[in-house]
Amino acid sequence: MAVQQQIQPSYTQYTGRRSKLSTLGYRIGEFIYEYWATMLTVALGLLVLAAISVPFLSYLGLDWLSKQIFYALHTVCAQIPAHSFYVFGHQLGMCARNLSIYSSMFVGCLIFVLSGKRMKGIPWWFWLLLILPMAIDGTTQMFGWRESTWELRVITGVLFGLGNVWFALPLVQKTLLETPMQPRISIPLPPQQADTSTETA
């Protein structure tokens, strides 16, 4: 009995602290669970918008802003001038291939979100088939065996981007639906202490 009296106050203290943290964690988890695809769509949309905005900002005289965006986009793209599109004589923030990849991923994500995350996925072999053209086009160019064209970069990039989204997003959603969510408080109460703890709360 003496042992039980010692344990009880510390247990109450522990659950009190944990509940605030776990509630916050649970809410964040719930938000991500519900809006993960929307967040991804927004992120991709912003990335594409940033890349397209670079020449327009330069044209409008906002070179300081355009330059910062351009430099920031170097983290996701090599920005080779000969492989890029130009608007008003200014280079876009991403090369043709990357712009096609991210744009098609954005469109694919948007369709997935608008379908209520019910879009059916593709089998792995079809996904491989869609990414294969870019792998061939990119590799042969990288080794200097041939030079690609902007048309090929765009087509293979779009197939790659759509293939990835079409394969991965339904798979992620399926996995999330199959995984049961954890209850808010997972500490079971011993039967003899249940009444006492309710009174304390």
Partner: protein
Amino acid sequence: MNKTKETTPVQVTFYTKAGCHLCDEARDMLDDIAALTSYELTEIDIRANPKIFEQYRYRIPVIFVGPDTILEGRIEFRELAKAFHLR
């Protein structure tokens, strides 16, 4: 007795254009190189000549270092330093 070594500075031609972010980056690199070695720079705005513009519009920044080294597009500092025999 002091021996002074007379060497002719490297001739550098830099093709650029206003509003080209990669050119700004390359220009900064050339300034960094200037702190390490001397060279003679000729900066050419490609818009001044339609023929040059057509030739370099999708390639700038283009840097000729000496008679036979050409660097273009996204230029890395180590490549530029190597062209000046600094690394």
